[in-house]
Amino acid sequence: MSEGMIEETHKSAAGGRASSAPLLGDDREPTLFEFSVPGRTAYQLRTNEIPAIDITELLPVEHLRSEPVELADVSERDLVAHFTRLSHRQFAVDLGAYPLGSCTMKYNPKICDEVAGLPGLADVHPGTPAALVQGWLALMLETEHVLCEVTGMAAATLQPAAGAAGELTGLLLMGAYHEARGEKRTRVIIPDSAHGTNPASVTLGGFEVTTLPTDERGLVDLEALKAALDGDVAGIMLTNPNTLGLFEEDIKEIAEAVHEVGGLLYYDGANLNAILGVIRPGDMGFDIVHMNLHKTFATPHGGGGPGAGPVAVSERLVPFLPGPKPVQHDDGTFGWMSPEHSIGRVHAWHGNTLVLARALTYLKIHGGDGLRRVAERAVLNANWLRVRLAEHYPAAYDKTCMHEVVVSAGAMKRKTGVKGLDVAKRLLEEGFHSPTVYFPLIVEEALMFEPTETESLQTLEALADALDRIALEAESDPDALHAAPRTTPVRRVDEARAARMLIPTQDARDEALGLST
């Protein structure tokens, strides 16, 4: 690699300088490896008094490594400073509003962190016999019951570790259902506004994707749907409200039409927040629902995970659910069982159980009444923002939205050359996270705002004011917008270079710099 753009830094430890703390300017933070000094240690292990027999006497020598795996060798003090400083280079819900559409970045109650660390929950081995984990089984079963009540379904699996895992699980259930009826159906229909995980899951589920256009209302084109339906159709995947934030008003007709041809309806629960306690997927006619507990039920997203994607199903799909599942026996005790025609495991153990504990905590605090309030206020906030932004950022479909609103910067771009991405980047300077950009794909210069119910009117006002300022700036000084963000720890990054000249590790970096040994 000759592209001489890799920044040269010392390979040796950079010292205790708070070099990245934005508190002190926007300087670089070395990697942990650059702090490393061979021989320096941080770890402290329990005194165990087991004879320190040489490992070569215990294992066949041909399997043993001659050199230890080289890691970063730092003091606890430097470890703390490094990761504290890195945390200062990271935006988060805890720092400010995060109106990232489709992601439901609401406040994550701190009490849930404590629950997820409780002794008796956090320190339990997943292979412990059922008799000793009655609490965990009860917790899981209660979670399943609450999720079924919220979605209007008969039973659920808690195993899927995230939404996409839930989708694939749901599609395998769909396949198993048809197969059990002796049918081999090949196609699954999804709207063109669908999230990328939907088509990807369909493929992995063994089906072909049939894409459905969105009509001028921003909804499923009913005629196109009907035309696409036949005996090959295994089912349809929808999220409702859809990814435009609009409720599929024809859901009853859609459900009937799909069921008519023997297909099933899959509900992508990413947008469940909008309808909590208002309407239930089961009541709309859906057969399979996955939920993103890390969206709707406020389990924190952890910078990209973990999540939890339980899948709830209607009666007829219950026998196919993954197993083992928690069950309550007649004597009141809890145990495990596998449904009769279970598709098998979809997780190494029982799912992201500590995420479930967080979600159940959230669900109990809110209760039935609180969940309804969540939906109401999420929708109220989104609509307030929609109307308030209309002057400069018209909604892609101008009508009452649900929990999120997709606006278009298309007109702005044509007039000023300022793109949706520029707006998103400039908003970072204003102290807000950007909205989702360029999704759904069908809206030109899409900006998708999901304020969520935990943001205040004052926050929405401040957000709208900032966006208005940006709109005026687009007219007066478009270059400033192209140059944004300027106050962040780094400015726009060269994504093309990252792909062209792949440096995925410290070693690749050192090699590119000619530093490798």
Binding site: L45, I53, H125, G304, G344
Partner: protein
């Protein structure tokens, strides 16, 4: 009405008025009235935080399995390692915990750099040049590895060794329902994959082995490599990352993909999740890599910066043609692993690996002195886990041990299905899989041996 919403009644009224509406309910007019929930969800009313905390603590107390109650000799892919306060504190910082996927790299350098460091560590542990930003758990990682390998070899026949964790094998088979891969299970013979037993299955597109196997035994990886070369197959190794502290890396034996479970690096046992799927591969396969990948680049001012890269593989861009459907992964656990591995350092990783080997050996020697307790695989060296057989049924023995305050391991009858190719059918009911990490002391093991001595008496 406890909740986290800021709206006062006056604000709601003003917002509704701003929208030209009379009530909040009108916002839901697009939803057919007939379908709407009448009378609210059939759930209890909300409860304030302290009440809910009390009820969550009740669940915790119903379990008789916390570290205060049972000393852990169970492993099988979930290990009781030291997690120091410092790692929990740093990993628990709100900026890491409450961030989303780093879609805006300018304000996500914290997570991105931590993942870059994590990828480096996983790469070094696996002996392969590139690692992703995590998958759900070990089972998801091995499943994705199979998908990658089939795509690369264009051969759907998957030799799946029975030395791979039984649950992971189940998951691979579940997802093969969708992909249609032809999964051929390769039995173990004395702890090593017996490929001769499946020689009629047709040439593989991929061979998947565990190293160590879930029984702790070591595969002949050189042999696996040459079998792969012969068939044009990819070699996938499910490797325990702690064991790699003493073992040659799977990458050094020529693996194309190395996967594993990273829970041991700072993530609590947590009844099984969230855990951390590790995934590393050769550069040849990087464009088939599932999940996120962070790369170094520069910003407009030439400063070093990190960003998710090779995004064209991912579902949001490639949609039905994506290499994988994964979106949300286990980033926080990856950040925690980077912190924990930073805490361990070169010496620490080696030390926990060596100590785990020694503790497990000391345990094995102790228990096999008991009358009727035998190694499942006499004379076979093991790492991480080891299986024994007892005169009584394993679950009875484990029940008795629990009364003495020990989680004695996992019954192979619970872990495996009947007819599993990894264990002799007649021994399965009597076999226990055990493990001792660096946390187990001599005293604890000695006491355990005493307890087991009593427990195996009929």
């Amino acid at each position: 009405m406890p909740d986290y919403m800021p709206h006062t009644d006056e604000e709601i009224a003003s917002m509704v008025a701003f929208l030209g509406l009379d009530s909040i309910e009108q916002l839901f007019d697009a939803i057919p009235k007939a379908l709407q929930v009448a009378g609210g969800l059939s759930l209890p009313q909300g409860m304030p935080e302290p009440d809910v905390m009390a009820s969550m603590k009740t669940f915790a107390k119903m379990n008789k399995a916390g570290a205060d109650q049972l000393i852990c000799f169970a492993g099988a892919g979930a290990y009781d390692h030291e997690i120091p306060t410092v790692v929990r504190t740093l990993g628990g910082r709100g900026e890491f915990v409450t961030a989303y996927t780093p879609y805006q790299p300018e304000v996500a350098q914290g997570v991105l750099q931590a993942i870059f460091e994590f990828q480096t560590m996983v790469s070094r542990i696996s002996g392969l040049p590139v690692a992703n930003a995590s998958l759900y758990d070990g089972s998801a990682a091995v499943t994705e590895a199979v998908n990658l390998a089939v795509a690369a070899s264009k051969n759907e026949t998957v030799y799946l060794s029975s030395g791979v964790h039984p649950h992971w094998r189940s998951v691979v088979k579940t997802f093969a329902r969708g992909t249609g891969h032809n999964i051929v299970e390769v039995p173990l013979n004395n702890g090593v994959s017996d490929f001769d037993a499946v020689k009629d299955a047709g040439p593989p597109g991929v061979i998947v082995v565990g190293h160590p196997t879930y029984l702790g035994t070591l595969e002949d990886l050189a042999d696996v490599r040459s079998r792969c070369d012969e068939a044009g197959a990819l070699m996938v190794v499910a490797a325990d990352p702690v064991a790699t502290g003493v073992l040659r890396s799977a990458g050094s034996w020529g693996a194309d993909v190395v996967v594993g479970e990273g829970q041991a690096f700072g993530t609590s046992l947590g009844f099984g999740g969230p855990y951390l799927g590790l995934f590393a591969c050769t550069m040849d396969q990087v464009r088939r890599l599932p999940g996120r990948l962070v790369g170094e680049t520069v910003d407009e001012e030439g400063r070093r910066a990190y960003v998710t890269t090779l995004r064209a593989r991912e579902q949001d861009i490639r949609r039905e043609k994506a290499t994988s459907n994964v979106c949300t992964n286990q980033t926080l656990m990856a950040v925690v692993a980077a912190i924990q591995l930073g805490w361990l350092g070169t010496q620490g990783l080696r030390e926990i690996a060596e100590r785990s080997v020694r503790s497990t050996r000391y345990l094995l020697e102790g228990v096999t002195k008991i009358d009727g307790v035998e190694p499942l695989l006499p004379g076979v060296a093991t790492v991480r886990d080891v299986a024994i057989t007892t005169p009584l049924k394993a679950d009875l023995v484990l029940e008795r041990l629990a009364e003495e305050g020990f989680l004695g391991g996992l019954a192979l009858s619970a872990l495996t299905d009947e007819g599993d190719g990894s264990v002799e059918p007649n021994l399965r009911e009597h076999a226990i899989l055990m493990s001792a990490t660096e946390k187990r002391t001599k005293d604890e093991i000695d006491q355990f041996v005493t307890a087991l001595t009593k427990a195996v008496v009929k």
